[in-house]
């Protein structure tokens, strides 16, 4: 087994205490010794984090540091890439999803996914939300209609689209599409929302709407948000995971980390700022 030497050493004791501080909350995701490699290159090295329930955890770091891969490990979208090799364990609600007999589609339904660009399914606005509901086995039209309305309202899209629910989702503006994607994810009633730079393709106003939405959703959901934008991290984060070259460099409650950044690379990152 190849051992990896961390490039940036954090004080071990300090980190342990932080882990404990975070663990005081109710954990929903518990990642232990996660390693991901593709052929010969290691993409993620020894990832150990606990993500507490009903909070926003921001995965922060420069592009290409493995944030997105980590996010995709959480609902095993990594299965789509046959050359990715995962070891370690990811426990979600206590089930280790990497070594489980539980059906992967159930695990994925616990998590809503929001990608960098909105990818509305090639169907109507209504069907976009009904799709996930039907997959859950809901057949009754009245129930589906009710939920479509509820979740469109939840993302403040209902008033804009209620007259054209049957028209193609691809005709919406990018900002509306992204909100629709959020509603689509919420409709399957997940516990966790995985967001991979969800505002990077949006105009400032739509971004603001999404961010405000997240702050509201925090009460009912756990949000794991990937970004490389420092200011956004500051606005949203309860907890911050700072990653660099596939490793976790710093990790803990947001105010603590932003007040007194410890590792040099994080200081550097904050100085250059965005």
């Amino acid at each position: 087994m190849q051992t990896t030497t961390p490039i940036f050493k954090t004080n071990h004791v300090e980190r342990e205490t932080k882990l404990h501080a975070v663990a005081m909350e109710v954990p929903i995701v518990d990642i232990q010794n996660l390693n991901v490699s593709a052929r010969k290159t290691q993409i993620l090295k020894n990832i150990n984090i606990i993500i507490p329930k009903n909070s926003i955890t921001v995965l922060l770091g420069p592009s290409g540091c493995g944030k997105t891969t980590l996010l995709k490990c959480l609902n095993r979208l990594t299965d789509l890439y046959s050359d990715l090799h995962l070891t370690g364990s990811i426990k979600i609600d206590g089930d280790d999803i990497l070594n489980t007999k539980i059906d992967i589609t159930h695990i994925r339904q616990k998590m809503g996914l929001l990608l960098q660009k909105p990818y509305p399914l090639p169907m109507s606005i209504y069907e976009n939300i009904a799709y996930g509901l039907r997959l859950k086995g809901i057949r009754k039209r009245s129930v589906i209609s009710e939920k479509v309305e509820k979740h469109l309202k939840e993302v403040a899209l209902w008033d804009e689209v209620k007259d054209r629910l049957k028209s193609s989702a691809q005709k919406l503006s990018i900002g509306q599409q992204q909100r629709l994607c959020l509603a689509r994810g919420l409709a399957v009633e997940p516990e966790i929302i995985l967001a991979d730079e969800p505002t990077s393709a949006l105009d400032p106003i739509s971004s603001r709407v999404i961010e405000e939405e997240f702050l509201k959703l925090r009460n009912d959901y756990t949000i794991i948000h990937v970004t490389h934008i420092l200011r956004q991290a500051r606005r949203l984060a309860d907890y911050v995971v700072f990653m660099y070259y596939g490793e976790i460099v710093e990790y803990g409650p947001a105010d603590e980390i932003f007040e007194t950044p410890k590792p040099d690379i994080l200081k550097e990152y904050m100085k250059v700022g965005h």
Binding site: K72, L80, T105, R108, Q109, Y119, P122, M123, R184
Partner: protein
């Protein structure tokens, strides 16, 4: 020096432009040439009877193309019906389920299949498909058949169309963004549900075009079909009957067409018919592809 460089530039630009114009005029020339050649036929045969009459006896001056049109359609439709599930599922397997090396392995295989000359497909059809239809399939259905039949033509044509259609379908699936699949999977869909509800819908115009273009390609295919279809002028009653296709008619009779009056005009009219139909199909489906690429 400067002058000569300019002169070269000038001359060569004109040469390039004229080559382009030449290429663009080519189909026009083909169309005009065929129309002019088949013109004598129109003077005493109305277009409607040429197409819809099934009376074909060149020596009496009777030219009804209906048996050939029908034969061509039968053969082509059989081929496409076979290709629809075969190519679609193979493309789905290769792009969605199979490990990456499989697609890498299959690309040259498909290329090779596409490159095999149609005469060779015809030879294979004679060796394998004709006996198979005549000795196995026809008795199974309780029909008498020599094997040289519409079905044999359709089967050979299907095999020939596989690489052509499969290649286009692979391209359609390749262009669907991975993230769309991720979005569907994360809503709890299985892979197949994602393909069925999302990918097939997303790629629908590309898929339809692939089959449309495959259809037009199959319609114009000559040698392989000619070798197995039986070449009997008749309206086929079943797939085990022998038939005759439009391209086969043209190819088979070029030798004697100068000896019977109007025969050459009739054959050129056949070519014109083929040209116009295929051009139309191509324009329609290429346009669908072009439109879907814009979105």
């Amino acid at each position: 020096m400067v002058l000569s460089r300019r002169l070269v530039d000038n001359l060569s630009s004109k040469w390039m432009l004229s080559c382009l114009i030449f290429c663009l005029l080519l189909p026009l020339a083909i169309g005009t040439g065929l129309v002019l050649k088949s013109f004598p036929l129109f003077t005493n045969h109305p277009l409607g009877s040429l197409i819809f009459s099934s009376n074909w006896s060149p020596s009496d001056g009777q030219f009804g193309f209906w048996p050939f049109i029908l034969g061509s359609l039968w053969v082509t439709i059989i081929a496409i019906i076979i290709c629809i599930p075969l190519c679609l599922l193979a493309a789905i397997y290769l792009t969605q389920f199979a490990p990456g090396w499989m697609l890498k392995f299959m690309r040259p295989v498909i290329d090779i299949l596409a490159g095999i000359p149609s005469v060779v497909y015809g030879v294979w059809g004679l060796l394998v498909i004709v006996p198979f239809v005549g000795d196995k399939l026809a008795p199974y259905f309780g029909v008498d058949s020599l094997g040289y039949s519409i079905l044999a033509g359709g089967l050979v044509l299907a095999v020939m169309s596989i690489p052509y259609i499969l290649n286009m379908l692979l391209e359609v699936f390749r262009q669907i963004p991975v993230e769309l699949g991720e979005a569907s999977l994360s809503l709890g869909a299985t892979k197949w549900e994602t393909i069925k509800h999302v990918f097939l819908r997303k790629g629908s115009s590309g898929i339809i075009s692939a089959y449309g273009l495959g259809f037009s390609k199959a319609l114009g295919e000559t040698m392989a079909v000619l070798m197995v279809v039986g070449n009997v002028v008749q309206i086929p009653q079943s797939v085990f009957d022998a038939g005759y296709t439009l391209p086969a008619l043209i190819a088979n009779n070029y030798g004697e067409m100068m000896s019977i009056p109007s025969y050459d005009s009739a054959l050129m009219f056949g070519a014109l018919l083929l040209f116009v139909i295929i051009l139309l199909i191509n324009v329609i489906f290429r346009y669908i592809i072009y439109k879907s690429e814009l979105i």
